[in-house]
Amino acid sequence: MRIFLKLCPGLLLLVALLAIGIPELMAKQVGMQGEEKFWERTARFFLLQDTSVQIVVLGSTLIGISCGLIGSYVVTRKLSLFGDTLSHAVLPGIAIGFLWAESKDNIALMVGATGAGFLGVSCLTFLQKYTHVRQDSALGIVLSGFYAVGICLLTRIQKMEFGNQSGLDSFLFGQASALSVEDLWGIGCTLFIISLFILTAYKKLLITGFDLSFARSIGIRADSLQYVLWLLLAFCIITSLQAIGVILASALLIIPAVTASLLVKRMNSYLLISATLGAFAGLGGSFFSFLGQGMPTGPLIVLVSAGIFIFVLCLRPTDGLLIKWFFSRKNTLRIHRENTLKAVYQILESHDFQHQTINTQALMSKRGIDIVKCEIEIQQLINAGLATTEPRSPKLSIPGQSILSLTPMGWEYACKIVRNHRLWELYLTNEAKYAPDHVHDDAEKIEHVLGDDTIRQLEHILSNPRKDPHGKLIPSLTDMEMGNIESSPSS
């Protein structure tokens, strides 16, 4: 976790570079005509000027929504690897469909893919029911086995005479620009059925996902619900293959849904966010693919959704990694400042508050740090308005040779910290019965987190003590006012 926190700025930089870099790269790729061409193509994509662009935009957005919706159920039911297996398992079906129709006939491909997907799931069920092979291993076997068959068949096809312009390799990595109007119909129908299913069975899906045995006990047919979900998952994958490809299809199911899981705590908003992010990813991926003129869409879709995921992971409210890092850094700085102030106080105290200033050398040896760190700490006090410095003599301004005095605000703060420390030590010895030589280390940590309320409470329990276990004064506001301890030069 800590390492990750340290990596965080770097990661963010990477994302930023990617964000800037991709259009640059595209411009170069498109690039014989240079920069204008890039903007021209961008405009052409978003103004939806020609039909092919319209199909791509509509298709990839709808695919994103379908995958986002089904993906929510895949992720919350821990079926991520199942989705991946299913998407790889349909590949041999696509190849066989092509061999059978001897061309890229949509119906044949669809039938082949569905059959292969069904066979894949049957293999999984068989392995689980009748053997001792563990689930993750079974998924691995089926995934790689079916995929291998698919690759062999595809290679054969490419060597046949009708296979040359088959364009079947777009099923491997995805090619949104190859989407046809018939594809669009398939995508639309799938989305419609998925939405209808979720709308009607929302509650049943919720309850079977959360608590299967309870769901069964109130008479929900969890198994048939599961099968419908699998079937829709299969359709969702098959219809999106043209755009995203077999290899990365599961990414669009998983990444938007996981991103949503970082943000929300209820299923309905989960679905909404996941679908929106899915649409974004689909659209973004096909846009970059369009700019890149034939770059495979699948990887680009994955990059866009992974980019969104990293962004959300770092910057989501309260729990974002970057936000956390920022607060922990702020805290560390505060603790440093408080320790410096305490050291200043203790130096002044060791001279019975005869002087109102200290020199840097004294602070260095008290804190046990070198001159560079000491200068940094002093600078931080000055920045926070807690201290001022002046050179030891007006002529000489050597680093580490200056004289430090606390401002009234710094003085009050220092007293507060010392007070916290000593009150806590006293509390530990008097109330928690610690030995006096055991309390210092604990107080070193606690002094920074004691709030005003706790201090009031401690004062009450200990009935406003004056001395700590080591016999030193516990400084209070009244002490400062009464002159029991000398205040530093007030303004």
Partner: protein
């Protein structure tokens, strides 16, 4: 026999997992309005008995009747509280969502949750002292709080029979007291409750009937009668070795098993 059917009747029930018998020839008749504790050592078949009554596990022999009906028709009269670990606590639902699930049995396919359902869920959460947590995601609760949410869901079901699987596991002392007092008030309003329990020390005070189980029914009856040293010794003092060996042998013979199902 009573004129009214027993809430739960189990007759000569035998259940085995992968040919290993877990329950063997169990007879049980639970009367309406009892608060029954099911106790026995680990692996005695306590959860299996509950699951078989709930029709989640198929018996090899014997039968279960719920209010005189077959389990398939009868389970909807039962409020079931599964073991806490059997649930995915990271699931994106809030406490209120979970309690409302108790009302789902009363809704149809397109049934919407009515205001009355919501009010009811509210009251149930209040009864278990969890009302202020209604909007929390369930993953942010302690073990005791999770169990209370389960209890609230069971209350929202308004069933006449309740089966609970180890509701006191991983629960703090305060929650345990709350749960017991709620169980007792449920019993007073005429519900029948069967609760799997693991702690012998408290069993005596919590339940008015006890079922001592160790693969077989050792004893069933009112707590003072059953909670005797002799019977407890019989339940916990090692298995009946010869008996369990023979039972495993018998279960491995397919023809015996087949004969049994035909005989039924």
């Amino acid at each position: 026999m009573n004129s009214l059917p027993y809430p739960i009747q189990v007759h000569d029930l035998t259940v085995s997992y992968q040919r290993k018998p877990v329950l063997y020839g169990v007879d049980l008749e639970i009367e309406a309005g009892s608060l029954v504790g099911v106790i026995g050592p680990n692996g005695a078949g306590k959860s299996t008995l509950i699951k078989t009554i709930m029709n989640m596990v198929r018996p090899n022999g014997g039968f279960v009747k719920i209010l005189g009906k077959s389990p398939k028709a009868g389970t909807k009269h039962i409020g079931y509280v599964p073991q806490r670990e059997s649930v995915d606590w990271e699931f994106p639902v809030t406490v209120m969502d979970v309690v409302l699930m108790g009302r789902y049995g009363h809704l149809g396919w397109f049934g919407r949750i009515s205001k009355a359902d919501k009010k009811m869920a509210h009251e149930c959460l209040e009864k278990v002292d969890m009302l202020s947590y209604g909007n929390r995601q369930i993953g942010n609760l302690s073990g005791g709080q999770q169990q209370r949410v389960f209890l609230a869901r069971a209350l929202a079901q308004e069933s006449s029979i309740y089966l609970m699987d180890e509701p006191f596991v991983g629960v703090d002392a305060v929650t345990e007291k709350t749960i017991v007092s709620i169980l007792k008030s449920m019993q007073q309003s005429g519900k029948t409750l069967v609760i799997v329990h693991h702690d012998l020390a408290t069993a005596k005070n919590y339940f008015d009937h006890l079922l001592l189980l160790n693969m077989r029914k050792i004893a069933y009856g009112p707590t003072p009668k059953v909670f005797t040293e002799e019977l407890l010794q019989k339940t916990y003092g090692g298995r009946l070795t010869v008996f369990s060996e023979m039972a495993s042998q018998a279960a491995k013979q397919p023809e015996i098993e087949a004969a049994k199902t035909i005989g039924e």
